[in-house]
C-alpha cells in the first residue's frame, strides 16, 4: 500500500502510510491502542474505503487510483482475503465443519474442510458447536475457516489476546509454523511486542497513524528508529549522556553505541540500554577517591522467582532498574554494587 490515508467522518486515523509486505511473508503491524491498527485492518479487508492512496494485493489493485481505474474499490467478498478476528468470531449457529466450509463452494467443500481441520489439529471436532470449544480451539477453527478458500492474504486481528499466557505462546508458535508452511502472505495486527517479535518476519511499528519503523524483529528491537519505538518495543533503561562520535559517556561509564544510531552532532543525548545488557557485580575493593563508573547502592529488591528486579541508585543519584537472574539470593537493599554494560547502546537526541 502507498500514501494511504483513511479515517472516519473526516478525522484521518491513518495518514500517508506506506508499507509493502513481500509475498509469502508474515508481517506484524505493532502499535499501542489508538495507533490506527484496527483502521488499517479494516482498510485492508475492505470494510473502510481509504480517502487517499492505494492498496495492492500483489499486482491486483484493490483500493485507490490505478492505471485505468480512477476509483477502484474491491468489496470484501471479492478480495480473496481471510480474516482471523479477535476471539475467533465463529458463527455460533454453525458447527465447526460448517464454519470452515462457509467460504467454500458447495459440493467441493468436504475434502478441503477435512484437510484444513487436519492442518490445525481439529479433525476430531468437526461436528462440535463453537460454544463447546475452548478459546484456543476456537482460534484454531477461525484460522482454518480463513485458510480454507486459499486466500491471497490472511489478516490476523490480535488473535491471541484473549488467551491465557501459556496457551498464547504455544498457539503463536503453531500459527507461525502453519503460515510459513502455507506460504500465504499474512498480516498480524497486535499491540503485544513480544508477539510481533516472535511471530513475524517483518515488523512495522505504527504510531499515531504513521509507520515509524519497518524492519526485521532483530532490527526493530536492537536499533529502534527513535526513543518512542525503543520504549514501546521492549523494556528500556534511559540515561542522560554526552555523545562523542560512536561512544557516549553516562553514569555507567564510557560505552560504545550502534553506528546507525550515532548522532550527527556531539553533545547532550539520551542513551538507551536493554535491561539484559546490565550486569551486576560486587565492588572488589573499597571505593577510591573517585567513584567507579556504575557504582551504586541497591535501594529496592523485588523477588519474582525466576529473576529479581532491583532499583540501584547510582553515585550521581539516578536510579535505574536492573534485572538479575534467579538462583542465588539477590542483593539486599543497602548493599553496594557495581553496574556494568555489555554490548553497545543506542543514542538519541536528548
Amino acid at each position: 500500500m502507498s500514501s494511504l490515508t483513511a479515517g472516519y467522518g473526516g478525522d484521518a486515523v491513518l495518514s500517508d502510510l506506506d508499507l509493502s509486505v513481500p509475498s509469502g511473508a508474515v508481517a506484524a503491524v505493532l502499535g499501542p491502542s489508538g495507533s490506527g491498527k484496527t483502521t488499517l485492518l479494516r482498510v485492508l479487508a475492505g470494510f473502510l474505503k481509504p480517502t487517499a492512496g492505494t492498496v495492492y494485493f500483489g499486482e491486483r489493485l484493490v483500493a485507490g487510483a490505478g492505471p485505468g481505474f480512477p476509483h477502484a474499490f474491491v468489496p470484501p467478498e471479492k478480495r480473496r482475503i481471510g480474516i482471523v478476528p479477535q476471539e475467533g468470531a465463529l458463527f455460533p449457529h454453525l458447527d465447526v465443519s460448517a464454519n470452515v466450509a462457509f467460504g467454500l463452494p458447495r459440493g467441493a467443500a468436504a475434502g478441503r474442510v477435512a484437510e484444513v481441520l487436519e492442518m490445525v489439529g481439529m479433525s476430531d471436532y468437526a461436528h462440535v458447536r463453537p460454544h463447546e470449544l475452548s478459546g484456543g480451539q476456537q482460534q484454531r477453527v477461525a484460522l482454518a475457516r480463513a485458510m480454507a478458500p486459499r486466500p491471497d492474504v490472511i489478516l490476523l486481528d490480535e488473535p491471541f489476546t484473549a488467551l491465557d499466557a501459556a496457551l498464547r505462546v504455544r498457539l503463536r508458535a503453531e500459527v507461525r509454523e502453519l503460515l510459513r508452511g502455507l506460504g500465504t502472505t499474512a498480516i498480524l495486527i497486535t499491540h503485544d511486542q513480544e508477539e510481533a517479535l516472535s511471530t513475524a518476519d517483518l515488523v512495522a511499528v505504527l504510531r499515531d497513524g504513521r509507520i515509524v519503523q519497518v524492519g526485521t524483529p532483530l532490527e526493530v528491537y536492537d536499533v529502534p528508529a527513535d526513543l518512542g519505538v525503543a520504549r514501546f518495543v521492549g523494556d528500556a533503561v534511559e540515561l542522560p549522556a554526552v555523545a562523542q562520535g560512536e561512544r557516549v559517556t553516562c553514569a555507567l561509564g564510557d560505552i560504545p553505541v550502534h553506528a546507525s544510531t550515532s548522532l550527527a552532532r556531539d553533545g547532550e543525548a539520551t542513551v538507551v540500554l536493554r535491561p539484559e545488557q546490565l550486569v551486576l557485580s560486587c565492588p572488589v575493593e573499597p571505593a577510591g577517591p573517585a567513584p567507579l563508573p556504575g557504582a551504586g547502592v541497591v535501594r529496592e529488591t523485588s523477588y519474582h522467582g525466576h529473576d529479581s528486579m532491583l532499583r540501584v541508585e547510582l553515585a550521581d543519584g539516578t536510579a535505574i532498574p536492573v534485572r538479575v537472574p534467579g538462583g542465588t539470593p539477590p542483593p539486599r537493599p543497602g548493599d553496594a554494587v557495581v553496574v556494568s554494560v555489555t554490548g553497545p547502546g543506542r543514542v538519541y537526541p536528548a
Binding site: P75, K78, I83, F102
Partner: protein, 525 residues
C-alpha cells in the same frame, strides 16, 4: 484494547438503502400525530383557544391530572414497602409473593373494571377508577424497586453501619437512595398508563381525557374539540415519556467496585412484624387478584345458566388473532431497518429515525384512533373502517416494542460475524441473511409475538377503527359490559386474561432486571 474488543457497533456510515427504509418507518410512525396537528391548525387559533378555555376542557384536564396524581401517590405508598418486604426481609414464601405482586400486570384495566363492576354494579366515578388503576398498575413500581433493593450492594450498608449509623439510617442513607431512580421511573410509567388508559375510566364513567375524546368523536359534531383535547393529551404524555427516559438513564447501577457482589442478608422480622407483613400482602393480593378472579368465576358460573355461544367466542378470538397478526407483521417489517440501524450505527440521522419511530409511545391509543378516523375520512375514504387501517394503527402503536426487540437482538450479535462472512465471499445482503439475521430471528420473532398478544387485547383504537360488524374479544367484552350483561361477558374476560399473561410475564422479567432498557417499551394499558 478493551474498546476494540467489546465493540458491538460497526463503525462508519450506514448503507443508504437501510436509511431509506428506516425513514419510511419514521414517516409511518409520524402520520397520526402530524395529521392531528394539521387538523388542529386548520381550525384556527381562535377556535383552539376557545376550546382550551372552555370549563369542560379545564375540568377534563383537572380530572386526568388528579387521577394521575392520586394513582401515582398510592402506587408509591403501596409499592415501596411491598418491594422492601419482598426483597429484603425474612418474609415467609418470598418467592410466591414475588410472583403474586407481578400478576396484576396480566389483567387489562378494562377487564379489572368489568370484574369489579360485575361484583359491585354501583361502583362508579373517580375513586373507583383510582382504586382499580392503582391495583393494576402498582407492579410498575413494585417490580423495579424490588430489583433495585435486591441489586444494591449490601457492602454499602455495612460500611454505613461501621461508620456509626444505625440499621434504619444505614438503609435510608445507602440503599434507599439507590432505589429512588427505579421508583421514579416506575411512577412515571404508572402516570403514563393512567393518562392513556381508556377502558377503566370509560367503564367507570370518569370524564378523563380518553373518555371525553371518545365521546366527542362518537357525538361526531364536535371534531375540533376532540382533536384539541387529543393534542393536549399527547403533550402531557410526551412530557411523561421524556421524563421517564431521563430518569431511566440514571437507573443503571452505580456500583463502582468490581468483583462478585454478595446477596444481601435479609432483615429478620419479629413475630408481630411478620404477621403485619403477611396481612398487608394478603390484603393487597385479595384486592388486586382475588376480587377480579372470584368475580370472573362467579360470572362464568352464572353465565352458564344463560347459554354461551361458543361459536361467537371462537369467532371473536380468531378475529382478534387475525387483525393483531396483520398489525404484528406490519410492525415487525417496519421495525427491522430501524432496529438494525439503532443497534449498529450511531449517526445523527439514525438517532433521528429511531426517536421518531418511537412516537407511538407517547400516543394514547384513543389519539391514534381519532387521527386515523379523520385521515381516512378526509384522504382515503375507501380505507375507512377496514382491517388495513386497524392493522396500521396497531403497527404505529406497538412499533416501539418491535424495534426494541430487533435492536437488542441485533446488538447481541457481533458485527464481526457479518464482516467475516463478507471476506468469505458473501455480498452484503447475503452476509447479513446468513449470519446476523439467522441469529436474531428468535429475538425478532419474540418481539412480533409480543406485539401480537398486546394488539389482541387493544380496546380503544379497535373500537374506533374496526369495520362495522367486526368484533374482537376486547370489543365484545366492552359492549356486553356497557349493557351490564356481565354473565355473558365473562368468557371474553377470561380469554383476555389468558392472552395478557404472556406479555405480562415478559414485562415482569424485564422490570426485575435492574439494568433493563426495555421497561418503557413494554408498557401497555
Amino acid at each position: 484494547m478493551a474498546a476494540t474488543r467489546t465493540r458491538r457497533r460497526a463503525t462508519g456510515r450506514p448503507p443508504r438503502l437501510l436509511i431509506a427504509a428506516g425513514a419510511v418507518t419514521a414517516v409511518v410512525a409520524l402520520i397520526p400525530l402530524v395529521y392531528l396537528l394539521v387538523r388542529v391548525s386548520e381550525a384556527g387559533l381562535q377556535r383552539i383557544i376557545e376550546v382550551l378555555v372552555r370549563p369542560r376542557t379545564l375540568e377534563t384536564i383537572g380530572t386526568s391530572v388528579s387521577l394521575v396524581l392520586v394513582v401515582v401517590t398510592a402506587c408509591l405508598a403501596i409499592g415501596i414497602p411491598t418491594a422492601w418486604l419482598v426483597a429484603r426481609s425474612t418474609l415467609p414464601l418470598r418467592g410466591m409473593w414475588l410472583v403474586l405482586v407481578a400478576l396484576p400486570l396480566a389483567i387489562p384495566s378494562y377487564v379489572a373494571a368489568y370484574a369489579w363492576l360485575a361484583q359491585f354494579p354501583s361502583m362508579h366515578g373517580f375513586w373507583a377508577a383510582a382504586l382499580i388503576l392503582t391495583l393494576v398498575s402498582s407492579p410498575y413500581v413494585v417490580l423495579p424497586v424490588t430489583a433495585a433493593f435486591r441489586s444494591s450492594d449490601p457492602a454499602l450498608e455495612e460500611v454505613a453501619r461501621s461508620l456509626g449509623r444505625g440499621p434504619v439510617r444505614a438503609f435510608a442513607t445507602t440503599t434507599l437512595p439507590q432505589a429512588w431512580p427505579a421508583a421514579a421511573g416506575g411512577a412515571l410509567l404508572v402516570a403514563l398508563y393512567v393518562l392513556s388508559d381508556f377502558g377503566a375510566v370509560a367503564l367507570l364513567r370518569v370524564d378523563a381525557f380518553t373518555r371525553v375524546i371518545y365521546a366527542s368523536y362518537r357525538a361526531s359534531f364536535d371534531r375540533v374539540s376532540a382533536a384539541v383535547l387529543a393534542l393536549v393529551l399527547v403533550g402531557l404524555a410526551a412530557l411523561l415519556v421524556y421524563a421517564e427516559r431521563r430518569v431511566r438513564g440514571r437507573t443503571r447501577r452505580w456500583r463502582v467496585a468490581t468483583g462478585t457482589q454478595r446477596a444481601a442478608i435479609p432483615v429478620t422480622l419479629g413475630a408481630g412484624a411478620r404477621l403485619g407483613a403477611l396481612a398487608w400482602l394478603t390484603g393487597l393480593t385479595i384486592l388486586a387478584l382475588g376480587v377480579p378472579l372470584v368475580s370472573l368465576v362467579l360470572r362464568m358460573l352464572e353465565g352458564s345458566r344463560t347459554p354461551l355461544d361458543p361459536l361467537e367466542l371462537l369467532t371473536a378470538a380468531l378475529t382478534s388473532l387475525g387483525v393483531a397478526l396483520a398489525g404484528a407483521v406490519l410492525a415487525v417489517l417496519l421495525a427491522l431497518p430501524v432496529g438494525i440501524l439503532a443497534a449498529r450505527y450511531r449517526t445523527r440521522s439514525v438517532r433521528a429515525i429511531e426517536t421518531v419511530s418511537y412516537t407511538g409511545h407517547a400516543l394514547p391509543a384513543v389519539v391514534v384512533g381519532l387521527s386515523l378516523v379523520f385521515l381516512t375520512l378526509a384522504v382515503f375514504p375507501a380505507a375507512y373502517q377496514t382491517i388495513f387501517i386497524l392493522a396500521f394503527a396497531y403497527a404505529v402503536l406497538f412499533l416501539p416494542k418491535a424495534i426494541g426487540a430487533t435492536r437488542s437482538a441485533t446488538a447481541s450479535v457481533s458485527p464481526v460475524l457479518e464482516q467475516t462472512a463478507r471476506t468469505l465471499g458473501r455480498g452484503p445482503l447475503r452476509a447479513w441473511a446468513e449470519t446476523t439475521f439467522r441469529l436474531t430471528l428468535p429475538g425478532i420473532a419474540a418481539g412480533g409475538l409480543l406485539v401480537l398478544l398486546t394488539a389482541m387485547k387493544e380496546l380503544p383504537a379497535t373500537l374506533m377503527l374496526r369495520p362495522t360488524g367486526l368484533d374482537t374479544l376486547a370489543t365484545e367484552l366492552w359492549s356486553r359490559t356497557e349493557i351490564a350483561a356481565y354473565g355473558s361477558a365473562a368468557p371474553y374476560a377470561i380469554a383476555l386474561v389468558v392472552l395478557a399473561a404472556g406479555p405480562a410475564w415478559l414485562l415482569s422479567r424485564a422490570m426485575t432486571r435492574a439494568d433493563t432498557d426495555t421497561s418503557a417499551d413494554t408498557v401497555a394499558p
